[in-house]
């Protein structure tokens, strides 16, 4: 059996000089080349930290990263030092972030920042660098690319800046792109364009994408696989279709219920159901299931022991002792 393109087993991340604050706990997932994995969760669930740990972007002094395995295309990421990471960033894996306004250096031109992404890794002449930059700018559909090379970030709109970020990330054709909520700061129409662009580029370059988001609409658009995170750990994993149709974990069901639906023609849309309570305190160890206090399907045993991973469907797993079966989920829908 071939190894998946990206393989992570039991990744745990804690901060602080003694590792007091555990932010990510035993996260495992696989990703195949050219596919999109959406990591879903609310703010504070640890999804961003998971992603930045893959890239080694945390300050080494105060971050403790442990894992059984963290492999990208055969490269062991766990044994990488800063120098090795610097080689991999941009060439094998790249990342784009949430706020394009602050993610670009205001004192440097777009052209320079893009060329830098090239000359950090490849030995090309100035003309060749410029050619690559122009090429990638056109691929991300930036009009008037030649003139934009000498522009500064503040002269571009939010959507254009995010395209530049994508261009910068993909200019060396990395096989993995991590996108940390790249559309959250953009308005909806621009969001749609960016998502479409990412899909196109994925098809062109065969890039695997980890897309971090809290927006289930986005997941529905572009997700192949979905991993749901809560309070620093994974609670459910599966294909997007499976998760949307048959959520097994109480949290996933809650998230889906909390999404507004619009049914043209129907008088009343579904009532927005919220998940009561709030995230547990940072680093606070819970006995039993971390979600038990907020779960609509909680049973007494849930608070006593840590739930096991159960396969509720082929390739669809949930960390739950009382997973919602398909009949339960349907019953839920009709009664609201």
């Amino acid at each position: 059996m071939t190894q998946p393109f990206l393989s992570v087993r039991n990744l745990s991340v804690s901060f602080g000089p003694n590792g007091e604050a555990q932010v990510v706990r035993n996260v495992s997932f696989d990703l195949e080349a050219g596919k999109t994995l959406c990591i879903v969760g609310e703010s504070g669930s640890g999804k961003s930290v998971t992603a930045t740990s893959l890239m080694g972007l945390h300050p080494a002094a105060s971050t403790h990263i442990t894992a059984d395995r963290m492999e990208l295309d055969g490269i062991d990421l766990l044994s990488c030092d800063e120098a090795r990471f610097a080689q991999l960033r941009g060439t094998k894996m790249a990342m784009i972030f949430q706020d394009p306004m602050s993610s670009l250096n205001p004192a440097l031109t777009i052209g320079f920042q893009l060329r830098e992404a090239v000359f950090l890794h490849e030995n090309l002449s100035r003309e060749e660098q410029d050619a690559r930059v122009l090429d990638v700018l056109r691929r991300v559909r930036i009009p008037d690319a030649e003139r934009r090379m000498t522009s500064y970030p503040h002269e571009l709109s939010g959507g254009m800046r995010q395209r530049v970020m994508i261009a910068m990330a993909l200019i060396c054709r990395p096989k993995l792109l991590i996108a940390d909520e790249p559309t959250t700061a953009l308005d909806v129409t621009v969001q749609a364009q960016i998502l479409w662009l990412l899909g196109e580029l994925q098809r062109e370059f065969g890039t695997a994408i980890i897309f971090i988001t809290h927006d289930l609409g986005v997941v529905a658009e572009i997700g192949d696989e979905v991993a749901v995170m809560y309070a620093g750990t994974l609670v459910e994993k599966g294909s997007a279709l499976d998760i949307f149709d048959h959520p097994a974990h109480g949290y996933t069901a809650g998230l889906l219920s909390a999404t507004a639906e619009f049914h043209p023609g129907k008088a009343a849309s579904k009532r927005l159901v919220e998940i009561p309570g709030s995230l547990p305190q940072f680093g606070h160890r819970v006995q039993g299931c971390a979600f038990a206090d907020r779960c609509a399907y909680v049973a007494p045993t849930c608070r006593e022991r840590t739930p096991e991973w159960r396969e509720v469907h082929p390739k669809h797993v949930a960390s739950c002792d009382q997973p919602i079966g398909p009949h339960v989920a349907e019953h839920q829908e009709h009664s609201i």
């Binding site: 890239m55 972007l57 800063e82 120098a83 610097a86 080689q87 991999l88 960033r89 941009g90 060439t91 790249a94 990342m95 972030f97 706020d99 602050s102 993610s103 670009l104 250096n105 205001p106 004192a107 440097l108 830098e116 992404a117 950090l120 890794h121 500064y152 503040h154 970020m165 910068m168 990330a169």
Partner: protein, 313 residues
């Protein structure tokens, strides 16, 4: 960008006007008779009247102001009441040591404090960083004259590396001149470097926590490159600003330092003139100092265009 330059140049005008007005009004806001004030306590009636005539203090205030403005714009600062020499000449005589001292101090300070501030921010939280923070607070807390005397005691009296006081003009040789100014410059540099290092460190800390630094690292840039290419340019504006605003403190310190080290510069000239009630000299020197400050701050503002592309629009 051009409109930025023009606007900035124009904004100098009201400031200059306020400075000139303030300096003019200084003499007249006192309780007593300006002429008597200048003449001194033991002056006779005739002496007072003579001064009143000479400085045109008998004319209406507005007329005096207009005459004053006309004189200033033609760089005529009048004559010293004390010595009779033209004020302009007195200033020119004393400008050299003061200007050299200021320049020397700024050079030392910038060369030391900016790299140290950057390094401390880069290694935030370490002993080096904490040491720098404490050192800077001490640097701007200990009075200039205390530092001055301490340095004189150690380096001039005991080690005999430098002269205790006095100034050797440039005409007598560059090296001798610089040597005579070294202790005074180092004294002042304590203050100036402390202010500069503090802001450099604080700004650098802010910049290093910005998102674009994270982006640079995510692209594969190594630490050194991130620091020099990405971070440094972004601390330009606040650092240069604090150089401008600290310059006023520097000039204040120059006055004290010239007193400690007996340097015949503009600072001493001012203090002596004020003590002697030599008002035309006081006016001339205050105006000169102010214009220098305004000029420096103007340069600072214009330099923003170098650091911040947003300013160039």
């Amino acid at each position: 960008m051009q409109s930025f330059i023009i606007k900035r140049l124009l904004s100098v005008i009201p400031v200059v006007f306020i400075v000139l007005t303030t300096v003019f009004l200084l003499l007249h806001i006192g309780p007593g008779d300006p002429a008597a004030l200048i003449a001194g306590e033991n002056a006779s009636r005739t002496q007072i009247e003579e001064i009143r005539q000479r400085l045109m203090l008998d004319r209406p205030l507005l007329e005096q102001f207009l005459i004053y403005l006309r004189n200033v714009t033609s760089l005529n600062f009048g004559e010293s009441v004390y010595s009779g020499f033209p004020v302009g000449m007195l200033i020119l005589q004393r400008v050299e040591p003061t200007a050299l001292l200021a320049l020397y101090t700024m050079t030392i300070s910038v060369l030391i404090s900016i790299p140290m501030g950057v390094w401390a921010a880069w290694r935030a939280g370490t002993t080096l960083d904490r040491t720098l923070v404490i050192a800077s607070v001490i640097g701007f807390s200990v009075p200039v004259f205390v530092i001055g005397y301490a340095l004189v005691d150690l380096f001039a009296l005991r080690l005999r590396w430098f002269p205790v006081q006095g100034y050797k003009p440039l005409s007598g040789g560059f090296l001798a001149s610089v040597t005579s100014l070294t202790l005074p410059a180092v004294t002042l540099a304590f203050l100036f470097s402390a202010l500069l290092a503090r802001i450099t460190r604080a700004t650098m800390l802010e910049v290093l926590s910005e998102d674009y630094i994270r982006t640079a690292r995510a692209k594969g840039a190594r630490n050194g490159r991130v620091l020099i290419v990405h971070a440094l340019k972004n601390i330009g504006v606040p650092v240069v600003t604090v150089i401008g605003t600290s310059f006023a403190a520097l000039l204040g310190g120059v006055v004290i330092t010239e007193s400690v080290f007996n340097i015949p510069g503009m600072g001493r000239l001012t203090v002596d003139a004020i003590l002697n009630r030599d008002y035309p000299v006081v006016q001339g020197v205050l105006i000169t100092f102010s214009f220098v400050l305004i000029g420096i701050n103007l340069l600072v503002d214009l330099s923003y265009a170098l650091f911040d592309p947003r300013v160039r629009q």
